[in-house]
Each structure stands twice: as structure tokens, then as C-alpha cells.
């Protein structure tokens, strides 16, 4: 694959809401390019508009202004080439792990056998074999996020959006999951747009980092992270980039 090929393009995206009878700008003139098969991290302070950006890419809400192009064509509404992993509470508690993972293919009307096969493949990929019949309430936070990731993959998306998927996990589990997601991304190459407010997480995972400002969100800077993987978090270059980004980051209000 041509890694310089642009997969997704945001052109002058803006989003506003009416809050208390006043117009509230959540994002202003956001433009960026996402390359094919890259791991792009959207980094920004809390409540700066990261989720809103992802929701617009996922077609869950319409931007007030601007266009989103996938493979050069404008997309409107949800597109089955785009999948998403949410921060938390995104599993159906009344469905088992298997039923959660096969949900997408089932909705598309795939027959039971092939969809079970696909679901099983991704359950294995995220390391949850043996838990197919468990219910989400019986799983730890990290395991739940693994199920969410498996479910997103089972839809076979070309672009995977991840909205602070590890934000609700404890530090130890979070490190483990970061390694996991990198391993999965290397086995099943997709374009990933990963949202976080954690600089270290961003540097550990990203090919490129798009740094967002405080609300209303706009692009402050883009960083190319050329460090070899898996990344060494105490490597001098890693620490230098970390300081550079940190100095450039708006403080969350």
C-alpha cells in the first residue's frame, strides 16, 4: 500500500450548537488529512471537541460547514467503511461477548456460520478466546474494551475511529492495552484515528499526531513521529518530543 495516499480528508470543518440561546462554537475550520493505513492520533485537552470531530467523521452528526472526503468522495451520514470504538459503556449488557462482536455482521444480514467465524477470529485476535459466552458485566474494564475493539474489526472497516478507548482504565491496564492495540494494528493494518488527551499515549502509538487547541477546536500543529516501534518511553528523542508537544498544548480549562 502507498502510505502517502490520502485516505480521509477533512476540509474546513466547523460545528456549532445552540447552548442557552447562544451560538456555541465547538470546532472552527478544522482541516486535516489522514493517510492510508497510518496510525493518526488526535491529541487535545479535555472537552475541546475531539468527540465531536469523530462523531462527524463517523456520520453521527452533520458539520455546520465543510466536507469530509473518503477516498476522494464526499461522505454523508454513516458509512460502513468507518468503524468506531467508544470510550466506555458501549457493550450491550444483555448480549454475550460473541453476540456483541457479531452484532455488525448480523445487522447486515450475514448468515450465522460465516459471521460467527469472523467474530471468533477477532475475539481470538484480542485475546478473549474462552470468554465468548461471558456477559459484559462479568468482564474487567480492559476486557470490555477488547470486546469493543473486536466488534469494530468484525465490521471490517477501512478506517477505525477510537475515542479515548482507554481513558477509563487504570494505568497498568492502559499500558497493556496500548501494546495490544499496536499489535492488533500491525496484524490487521487499517487506518486508525485514535483520540486521546494523554501525550505519552499519543507518542507511544502515533505515526502522526494532530494537536488540537482548546474549544473551539482547531488544528494547532501536526507532528511526525519517526521513532521505531515498540517505542521506548525514556528514549531521549521521545522525551524531547513529549516536552515540545507539552509546551505547545493548551491547558484544559
Amino acid at each position: 500500500m502507498d502510505s502517502e495516499k490520502v485516505k480521509l480528508k477533512l476540509e474546513h470543518i466547523s460545528q456549532s450548537y445552540i447552548v442557552n440561546n447562544q451560538v456555541f462554537d465547538a470546532a472552527v475550520d478544522v482541516s486535516m488529512e489522514v493517510r492510508d493505513s497510518e496510525f493518526l492520533v488526535l491529541l487535545g485537552p479535555g472537552r475541546c471537541g475531539k468527540t465531536i470531530l469523530l462523531n462527524m467523521i463517523a456520520g453521527l452528526e452533520k458539520p455546520v460547514d465543510g466536507r469530509i472526503l473518503l477516498d476522494g468522495e464526499e461522505i454523508k451520514g454513516s458509512d460502513e467503511r468507518i468503524g468506531m470504538v467508544f470510550q466506555k459503556r458501549a457493550l450491550m449488557p444483555w448480549k454475550t461477548v460473541m453476540q456483541n462482536v457479531e452484532f455488525g455482521p448480523k445487522i447486515k444480514g450475514m448468515a450465522k456460520e460465516p459471521r460467527r467465524e469472523i467474530a471468533q477470529k477477532y475475539i481470538n485476535l484480542v485475546g478473549l478466546q474462552g470468554f465468548e459466552k461471558s456477559y459484559p458485566d462479568e468482564l474487567s474494564g480492559g476486557m470490555k474494551q477488547r470486546v469493543s475493539i473486536a466488534r469494530a474489526y468484525a465490521n471490517d472497516p477501512e478506517i477505525l475511529l477510537m475515542d479515548e478507548p482507554f481513558g477509563a482504565l487504570d494505568a497498568q491496564t492502559r499500558y497493556a492495552m496500548e501494546e495490544e492495540v499496536q499489535r492488533i494494528w500491525e496484524t490487521e493494518k487499517r487506518t486508525v484515528i485514535f483520540v486521546t488527551n494523554n501525550i505519552e499515549e499519543a507518542l507511544y502509538l502515533a505515526d502522526r499526531i494532530v494537536l488540537l487547541s482548546n474549544c473551539p477546536a482547531h488544528v494547532k500543529a501536526v507532528y511526525d513521529v519517526k521513532l521505531p516501534r515498540p517505542r521506548n518511553t525514556i528514549d531521549p528523542e521521545f522525551l524531547r518530543l513529549r516536552r515540545e508537544i507539552s509546551d505547545n498544548t493548551d491547558l484544559a480549562l
Partner: protein, 295 residues
């Protein structure tokens, strides 16, 4: 694998104590057996206490009447009620029907009204809660009908439908219908936006999302509503039968008053109470099946 470290820690603490006292550690099987038998013992003790409570209540009642502390003309002895219970299966006096006939009649009314309320109320509440347009359309009518006490329908129902099954079932229906609608409505309104988004991203249409995400999300609340509906149905049934009927447990109680037979009244109350308990229990079984994932 996660419980590994804490478990061994626990063991260490025990063995420290043990080394002092030199007590033998329990094997795995013994430990399980011990915990289980303790649990069983507690369960048994609590069940016995409940039983003793009921028996003590009956005994005090019996003694109070037998000793003349309570006048037997107004308060029948429990033993007499039990006697009457067996007699009443074959003896239609003084109210004109045997106990079985009253029970069957009441059950017919209560269950037809109750099930009709579920069959109409739950789908109505779910669709109103999900589809905004339908909600705006239905809501004014529902809001007007909602606060009307079910028993106030009795007179007009008698004019429309007479004293038969249909009339009483309609009144029961109305009392059970309102909680079915309200809870299904509230339940589906509380569907998590994240889950709705999950379905959308998987390419689900609004109707598919309603079916696969909305309805299951609403089930807990809906069942709570059905429970309330069951209680209402049962209560309204008795009220309806006391006002307008010629058969049924409520009618039997009413006749007990006419004939100044408190034993008939008490028997009717006990049977109504017992049937209520049985239905609540059955409903619990169904709920356990449907909401089985909520362990």
C-alpha cells in the same frame, strides 16, 4: 489470573495465624463444603423464622378468639377458615357458587385484562418512547386518560358492556394498561446514546436500532411496570367484582358481608392474597428468563 496474587496473600495471613495455633489448614474441598453448609444453614434458619412468624400469628389469633378475647361472631378462628376452605369446594352456600367457580371467574377476568394491557400497553409505550412523531400524536390523549382512576370507569362500562367478563376485564385492563405504557416509555427513553451510536455505525436503520437496542434496554423498566400492573389488576378486579358481578372472589366477599359471614370474607381475602403471591412469583420466573443476563 487476576485473583492470583491476592489469593496467595490471603493464604499467607492464614498460615501465619496457623503456625501460632498449630491448626491444620482446610483442604479445598473442605473449605468449599464448609462455606456451602454455612450458607445453607443461614438460609434454612431464615426460612424457619418466616414459618414460625406465620404460625405464631395464626396461633395468637386462634387463642384470642378461643379464649373469647375477640368475639367469634366477628372474627372467625383460623381453624374454622381452613375448614370452610375445604367445605367451600363443594358447597355453593351461601353465595351461590363453589370456591372453584369464583376463582376461575376471577382469574379469567384478571388475566384477560392483564394480558391485554401488556399486549397493547407495552408496544404502545415502546413506540411512543422511540418515535418522536408518534409520541406527539399520542401523548395528549394518553395524558388525559392516564389520571382517571380505573374504578371510575365502572358505571359507564356497565352501561356499555353489562356485568359480564368483558366489562370487568375492561376495568382491569385500564388499571394495568397505564403502568405498562409509562414504564415501557420511560425505559426506552433511557436507552444509552452510545449504544444507539454503536448500532448506527454498524449500519442499522432506525427501526433495527429500536428492535435490537431500544427494546432490550427498556426491558428492566418494563418488567417493573408489569409488576405494578399485576398488583393494580388484582386490586381493581376485586373492586369491580364488589360493585358489579354475580360471580368471583370479590363477589364472594361482598356476599359474605350480606350474609354476615366473616369467615367467608376472610377466606376470600386469603385466597386473593395467595393467588396474588403465586402470580408475582410466576412473573418473577419469567423476568428471570428474560433478564437472565442480570446476574
Amino acid at each position: 489470573m487476576r485473583i492470583g496474587p491476592s489469593f496467595s496473600l490471603h493464604k499467607e495471613v492464614i498460615s501465619m495465624n496457623d503456625s501460632e495455633k498449630a491448626v491444620r489448614q482446610l483442604t479445598n474441598e473442605e473449605r468449599i463444603a464448609k462455606v456451602q453448609s454455612e450458607k445453607r444453614k443461614t438460609t434454612f434458619q431464615l426460612a424457619m423464622l418466616s414459618l414460625i412468624g406465620v404460625l405464631a400469628f395464626l396461633l395468637i389469633w386462634q387463642l384470642a378468639v378461643a379464649s373469647g378475647f375477640l368475639p367469634s361472631r366477628y372474627v372467625p378462628m383460623p381453624s374454622k377458615v381452613v375448614e370452610l376452605f375445604f367445605l367451600k369446594w363443594t358447597d355453593p352456600n351461601p353465595d351461590g357458587a363453589v370456591l372453584g367457580a369464583h376463582i376461575v371467574s376471577s382469574l379469567q377476568v384478571a388475566l384477560s385484562g392483564f394480558f391485554l394491557a401488556i399486549a397493547i400497553g407495552v408496544p404502545l409505550g415502546l413506540t411512543m418512547g422511540w418515535f418522536k412523531g408518534f409520541d406527539s400524536f399520542m401523548r395528549p390523549i394518553f395524558e388525559i386518560l392516564r389520571p382517571i382512576p380505573p374504578v371510575s370507569w365502572i358505571p359507564i362500562t356497565i352501561i356499555w358492556l353489562g356485568l359480564g367478563l368483558k366489562a370487568k376485564a375492561f376495568i382491569v385492563f385500564f388499571s394495568a394498561f397505564v403502568p405498562c405504557v409509562i414504564n415501557a416509555y420511560t425505559g426506552i427513553r433511557q436507552t444509552s446514546q452510545t449504544l444507539i451510536n454503536v448500532a448506527k455505525i454498524c449500519g442499522a436503520s432506525n427501526f433495527t436500532t429500536f428492535r435490537t437496542i431500544g427494546i432490550p434496554s427498556a426491558m428492566t423498566m418494563t418488567f417493573a411496570g408489569i409488576r405494578v400492573a399485576l398488583g393494580n389488576a388484582w386490586a381493581t378486579l376485586v373492586a369491580a367484582e364488589m360493585l358489579a358481578a354475580n360471580l368471583g372472589l370479590g363477589y364472594m366477599i361482598q356476599q359474605g358481608r350480606q350474609f354476615a359471614r366473616p369467615d367467608i370474607i376472610i377466606l376470600g381475602i386469603v385466597v386473593i392474597g395467595t393467588l396474588g403471591v403465586i402470580f408475582t412469583w410466576l412473573l418473577g420466573l419469567v423476568e428471570g428468563k428474560v433478564l437472565g443476563w442480570k446476574k
